[in-house]
Symmetry: C7
Subunit: 104 residues, 7 copies
């Protein structure tokens, strides 16, 4: 959804939410030909930009989220809340929706 | 939904509910042309006007809400209860439905 | 639903239920013209007539409801159980379904 | 559903179930004309005939039901399990489904 | 569902399951005429044949079931797992699905 | 679903899962005539081949399953996960889905 | 879903997620004839490649997952999140979705 934000950096996720940006696929074939954007498959990799403080358990203690800004993660095919800042699209996921960390 | 309220200030949200008003998009292009309202995309940013006392956990203790009046927040695309006071529209969300705080 | 009750005052809500009556919209325009009832939008404001003793938590303790008779409240657009006494209509809501208190 | 019971008095509700019989609407107009049964609106009032011992909480303690035999109650428009004894129809509700007690 | 069991007595219900057999309606009118089986309404009364040991609560303690073999009970109109032994049909219900005990 | 397993004995159910094989109906009438397989009704009896270690409760303690290998059980009409080893079909059920033990 | 990962080894499952690769069916008949891929039934066996640290219980303690890398497991027919690295497909399951361990 559209926003009037000037920078994505002003977003501080609430509770156990994780702000990510999907990694863009190379719109270029191995032989160097550029492909029109519509033929490039969306990747399920994303970079963590910001994390919430975590939800609280029944005793009121914070449950830390499992990732930190800078982490690369595998996101699920569906779900998440889209956020648009200018022309860029971002997503907010709940911590438990993230599938895996990518160590590469 | 319509109300006969004279001022939105008389609303005190119950439990973990948060009263917000959506930030209005600039109905004006960069070059200064005014746009008819129907072509202006709704923004997912809102200003917090009032917050409830929070829900209670199993021990009867209050769980504080995560935002306070004056905060700017990112709201989800769907959901929330609309409230109309005069010509203005407001929304009530549960605290955990708010996506992020905006620090700008 | 119809009842044979002579007075709404004989209803004592059970558990966390709240008995309310919707505030009627002025069926009169600003210039004093009376409007046929079908054109008057229903308001989401209601007056609390009676409250239940509250539900019980896991330890068997009562959880007090958040409003009291005489309070004015904002009710949700849908839901609640309708009760008819004579020609008047009332509604029963669970405490957590009420949106906000109105202090005016 | 049909039974071969000779008397409704032989039914002892289990757990938090409440056995009620709907109050019959006067099939007679104010001016004393008798109405055919199909034109008489069903009432949402019922008399409590018997109550179960209550469900158990997580510690195995009984949670007392909120009404007692003889009480008059407001029942919801839908739900409940119908029981037929002879030509009479009764209903079993869970305690928390009852809306209000009627003190008249 | 069909079984190769020689006797229903060999069935020992697991957890909180209750094995019952529906009481058969008299296929005979008051004046002594026998009715074809298809015109006889099914009754919601059943006899308890065997009961499971009960489920366990969160502390691992057994939660006793509310009926015992020999009890007559009111069963719900729908639900339960059918079991066929020879030509007879039986049903397994969870304890909390039984509506009432019949004391007659 | 197909597997490349050489023996069903290599399957060790996880958590509270129970591996069973449905008892085959006699494809032979009382008078000794063999019936084509499609006319033989499936039975709801099964033999327990292996059991999982049980799930864990909130304190991390194992909750023992209610049956053991060799037990004969009544299985529900629907549900369970099918496993095929060679031409034989087996099923995995959660412990609480089993209806009764068969003592014969 | 597609990824730009160079190696599946860089994936570290989060919480109670288990990364597996389905065992490929022999695309060859017993007599040595190779079959086109579309006629080869998918197997429900998979090899565990990596496991998450486990979810947390209400006290914040880790609940260990039931399998370890190298284990062979039976996976359910449906569900799981697909991950594609190059031409190979992998799946992420929650620990409790795995049906059985294969000891062969």
């Amino acid at each position: 959804m559209a926003t009037s934000l000037r920078s994505i950096k002003s977003l501080a996720p609430l509770l156990d939410r994780i702000l990510v940006q999907r990694v863009k696929a190379e719109a270029k074939t191995a032989s160097g030909i550029y492909l029109p954007e519509s033929t490039v498959e969306k990747l399920s990799e994303a970079k963590v930009l910001a994390v919430g403080p975590g939800g609280t358990d029944k005793e009121g203690r914070r449950i830390e989220v499992s990732v930190k800004p800078g982490d690369r993660v595998l996101i699920p095919q569906y779900g998440g809340s889209p956020v648009k800042v200018g022309d860029e699209e971002y997503h907010l996921f709940r911590d438990h929706e993230l599938l895996a960390k990518i160590n590469e």
